[in-house]
């Protein structure tokens, strides 16, 4: 908890006092594992299964990067981080990639010195209430006790929303989604506010999901994506293009099952992506099969989405904004050329 954040802060000081930016790619290859920061537990995005292995939408991104860089999707060392710890841990080198439903904002990009690799989920902040409370709209929440994860953009949006609408509220700060569930399910707070994807995941983990209701209002833009530290452009490029490879794979119809046999496709972009044509891999310092390995390990973007958070899972999220641009969504990758 807090201790972890303090230790990370001290580590950062120590690290700042001793070393300068190293080449993350070389370090990762030398150690043979990818250090990836994930959520402390959010069903669908990052959660341990019965066998204790981390699973989820955000976890699969870590696996894809590990497959691309090291050729082995299991060569990942996961560090569960709270909203408050995550940036310090990344800056201190405790993790090299942060894949933890993190909102891309101006100040995080510039002032906190992070580099966002892209957007893998277009989200917005919503409110969840107990259906028994009879509340139908976020504008009826004046006077409510609101559970809120500290160290998040939602915390700031919440303050702005209630202030702009001249309503009172009582913020109940919590550190992790697990604490939020304890407080919200026991009705120690009337409302739980978070990204709507997170609310859907929390709702799905309740024994009676129908007793909870997500209110219709969306009060913010929350573009979520993986990120790395400022200062190592090669590593940032790898993070960005692994994500783009997964998106392009969906666009081109490459799946977990067929990717290994698509190397001789007629589509030049597929050939460039899979390394059977051109020199793209050498530009970012990876093996020619990097994208093929990533896709073979976790599937394309659509497969990852449907497997962990799609309509056929307990969380049941529609693709919505997160459909490919060719299907009217916002998910779009620059070309592999």
């Amino acid at each position: 908890m807090k201790i972890r954040a303090l230790v990370a802060s001290l580590l950062l000081l120590f690290w700042a006092s001793l070393s300068l930016n190293a080449q993350t790619l070389d370090d990762t290859r030398a150690s043979g594992v990818l250090k990836c920061g994930i959520n402390t537990g959010l069903v669908g995005f990052a959660y341990p299964d019965e066998a204790g292995n981390w699973k989820g939408f955000d976890v699969d991104y870590c696996r894809a990067v590990a497959a691309a860089v090291l050729g082995d999707p299991d060569a990942v060392e996961y560090t569960p981080l709270t909203g408050k710890q995550r940036f310090t841990a990344l800056a201190a080198g405790q993790v090299d990639v942060l894949s933890r439903n993190t909102t891309w904002t101006f100040s995080r990009d510039t002032d906190l010195k992070q580099t966002f690799a892209g957007i893998n989920y277009y989200d917005g902040q919503g409110f969840m209430v107990h259906a028994s409370s009879g509340v139908m709209s976020a504008y009826e929440l004046s006077g409510a006790a609101v559970c809120i994860q500290t160290g998040t953009t939602t915390e700031l949006n919440l303050a702005d929303f209630f202030r702009a609408n001249d309503m009172d509220y009582d913020p109940v700060p919590i550190e992790t989604n697990a604490e939020a569930k304890q407080q919200f399910f026991a009705e120690a707070c009337d409302v739980y506010t978070s990204d709507r994807s997170g609310l859907a995941a929390t709702r799905a983990s309740h024994e009676d999901p129908d007793s909870l209701m997500v209110l219709p209002e969306i009060i913010s833009k929350e573009p979520l994506g993986p990120l790395v530290r400022h200062g190592d452009d090669q590593w940032a490029d790898i993070a960005r293009w692994v994500l783009n490879a997964l998106i392009t794979a969906e666009e081109k119809g490459l799946t977990m099952d067929n990717v290994m046999s698509m190397g001789d496709s007629n589509d030049p972009e597929v050939r460039r992506l899979l390394g059977t044509e051109g020199e793209l891999a050498s530009f970012i310092g990876l093996d020619s099969s990097w994208a093929a390995n990533a896709i073979a390990a976790v599937g394309n973007y659509g497969e990852i989405f449907e497997r962990h958070i799609g309509v056929n899972t307990a969380i049941g999220l529609e693709r919505g904004h997160n459909a490919l641009w060719t299907d009217g969504g916002l998910i779009y990758s620059p070309p592999f050329r």
């Binding site: 802060s9 006092s17 409370s133 009582d170």
Partner: protein
């Protein structure tokens, strides 16, 4: 050779070590600043003047999300001081009672107290804090349970105290003919009513102390102590009650409105859980200190006192306690310091102390780890030094005066 000269050797070595240490720290600091600068993160405190943009639920002074990070830190600091003061007070009361009961000749009582001490001091404080919080959240009724024709839960003490799983609501003192608030340099508002009440109460206490000294003087010259207790009660309570009446004192009871109870003083779960956990935990240590202090006074003192004809109560007050306090106070100081520092675990249950504001949300939202952690260290250092200097002053008042 200087090294062979014992007069210079130790001085030389000390000088070399000190210079070496200073060079090491200078290198460390210089390197830190350089590396932070190369990360594009120069050390600066200007972020403290930017709007904090987040809300704090428990605030003892005026604060909104538009206030600065500095003010958010002060709000957190006051919350730290509040829980530390409440905790020290309750821990002392509990500790003294348990410590004395542990010495009881009643077997059951002394065993029970021993169990209390062992259970509380052998489990980490963080677990106690989380445990108390979980108990409060899971076992107490939610506000909705107070609603409806036949509510499942009801208020306590003639409908004046509401105990819910969000916190405790107690009646709020109000003044219908109040004196208003005094604006102190735009920083915070001082309630003039409270100020006047404290002033009158303290004046009453001082007058009563004069009366006691006068009684002492008369006893020393004539041997007869005049009965003064009713005068003292009148001096202390009279003016205070009169002022309360003049100001139009009344209580406003909590009532269920909308989602929550409104009105009344709201003690959040997080405050209550932290307060109780810190107090119960520290009380276990204080109990042992009190027991040790009393047992440190040799039995001969009691017997000598009895043989002089002093009754047990006087023996306790005049002979044993003054000597026991001498032993009790120095370790008690450490316990107060421990309690204050342990209050930084508040963040585990979302109590917004200074670790939660300056060292938590502010640090996180501004990304100023170095500055925030250093400021936080300085703040705790100042609090601890103040507590220990006050307690050391008290210690020097009660310690054995050797003539």
């Amino acid at each position: 050779m200087l090294l062979n000269d014992s007069r210079y050797r130790s001085t030389t070595i000390q000088v070399v070590v000190v210079i070496g240490l200073m060079l090491f720290f200078a290198w460390l600091i210089n390197n830190t600043l350089n590396n932070l600068a190369s990360l594009g993160k120069g050390v600066s405190l200007s972020f403290l003047n930017a709007p904090a943009s987040y809300d704090i639920n428990q605030r003892l002074i005026e604060y909104t999300s538009r206030s600065t990070h500095l003010r958010a830190s002060v709000v957190g600091l006051l919350n730290t001081l509040l829980v530390a003061a409440l905790g020290c007070a309750l821990a002392t009361v509990m500790g003294v009672i348990i410590g004395i009961l542990r010495l009881s000749t009643n077997w059951v009582v002394s065993r029970l107290m021993a169990v209390y001490v062992e259970v509380f001091r052998n489990v980490p404080i963080l677990l106690w804090i989380v445990f108390f919080m979980a108990v409060l959240i899971e076992t107490l009724p939610k506000p909705a349970a107070f609603r409806g024709e036949n509510p499942e839960a009801s208020l306590f003490l003639w409908d004046s105290v509401a105990i819910t799983n969000r916190g405790w609501y107690v009646p709020e003192p109000l003044f219908s003919r109040g004196l208003g608030d005094l604006d102190v340099g735009g920083l915070f508002y001082l309630s003039m009513d409270l100020f006047a009440l404290v002033a009158v109460f303290v004046a009453g206490l001082m007058a009563s102390a004069r009366l006691v000294r006068r009684a002492q003087r008369i006893q020393e010259t004539t041997g007869v102590r005049p009965v003064t207790w009713y005068w003292r009660v009148l001096l202390i309570a009279g003016p205070t009650l009169a002022l309360l009446f003049i100001l139009g004192f009344h209580l406003r009871l909590p009532e269920l409105k909308g989602f929550n109870f409104t009105n009344g003083i709201y003690m959040r779960n997080s405050l209550v859980a932290l307060w109780l956990a810190l107090s119960c935990y520290t009380a276990a240590f204080i109990a042992e200190i009190v027991r040790a202090g009393i047992q440190a006074v040799s039995k001969g003192q009691t017997e000598a006192s009895y043989s002089l004809g002093l009754r047990p109560r006087l023996t306790m007050n005049l002979i044993i306690l003054p000597q026991a306090l001498r032993v009790i106070i120095p370790p008690l100081i450490s316990q107060y310091l421990n309690l204050t520092k342990n209050s930084s675990l508040a963040i585990a249950i979302g109590y917004m102390d200074i670790t939660g504001t300056l060292g938590g949300i502010t640090l996180n939202q501004t990304g100023r780890e170095l500055e925030c952690i250093l400021l936080l260290m300085i703040v705790y250092l100042c609090i601890s030094l103040s507590v220990s200097s006050v307690m050391n002053w008290y210690n020097s008042k009660v310690k054995l005066k050797e003539k």
